[in-house]
């Protein structure tokens, strides 16, 4: 089998900073690009609109529904 594909830098940033994202943005959607949060809002559509206003290409934005601390307790 060929070598496995791995996550890109932006995706790695999300996994490495997940706990901080929960603390700061729990209950919202965030858009991540260039290893940082470009926008946060209650809907992914609003996040992409904000990213577009800031001159970013929508397809480059990674959208994460950030759980609250309470929701994580329920899941885990």
């Amino acid at each position: 089998m060929k070598g496995a594909l791995i996550m890109n830098k932006n995706q790695e940033w999300v996994t490495e900073n997940f706990e901080a994202l929960v603390s700061k943005y729990g209950g919202k959607y965030v858009g991540v690009i260039n290893e940082g949060v470009i926008a946060a809002a209650m809907t992914p559509k609003a996040v992409l609109e904000e990213a577009r206003r800031k001159g970013e290409n929508e397809e480059d934005v990674s959208l994460l529904k950030v759980p609250t601390e309470e929701e994580l307790v329920c899941v885990l």
Binding site: M1, K2, G3, A4, L5, I6, M7, Q11, E12, V14, T15, E16, F18, E19, V22, G26, G27, Y29, M42, T43, P44, K45, L48, E58, E59, V61, S62, L63, L64, K65, V66, P67, T68, E71, L72, C74, V75, L76
Partner: protein, 132 residues
């Protein structure tokens, strides 16, 4: 087809199996993270993702899904394009305004396409596509 490896997200020393998937109904792809949930028959996304994709939620095929507390929630199935790594395919996934969990969920409808390994020692989830 090549396998793809995802790192676990971490929260308070616990591993969270979150993976990025891309969705589309038209021309543009949107990358949305989802929790890998083998306990979910359908992949379930909240209604806000349906809005993002330009879907009319209520025009989907309505089914009822049982959630953690035993109650039923309405789920509307819509056909979308999905991409994981370089693997692209079309399938029906569910959308609901009553999801009630903090994540979008990647269920068995998608996981059935792969040999999925949860390698907790390496901190990775590995998706290896089944040969057609």
């Amino acid at each position: 087809m090549r396998s793809i490896e995802f790192n676990y997200a971490k929260h308070r020393q616990r591993d969270i199996p979150l993976v990025p998937v891309s969705l589309r109904t038209g021309g543009k792809w949107s990358e949305v993270w989802a929790y890998v949930d083998s306990g979910s028959f359908y992949s379930l996304f909240d209604d806000k993702v349906a809005e993002l994709l330009g879907l009319d939620l209520l025009k989907g095929e309505k089914v009822l899904a049982v959630v953690g507390d035993g109650s039923f929630i309405p789920v509307y199935l819509h056909k979308v394009g999905m991409r994981i790594g370089i693997d692209e395919f079309a399938l029906k996934i569910g959308f609901s305004s009553k999801l009630g969990v903090g994540f979008n969920l990647l269920g068995m409808d998608v996981l059935d396409r792969y040999r999925v390994t949860f390698d907790n020692r390496l901190g990775k989830i590995i998706f290896e596509p089944h040969e057609e």
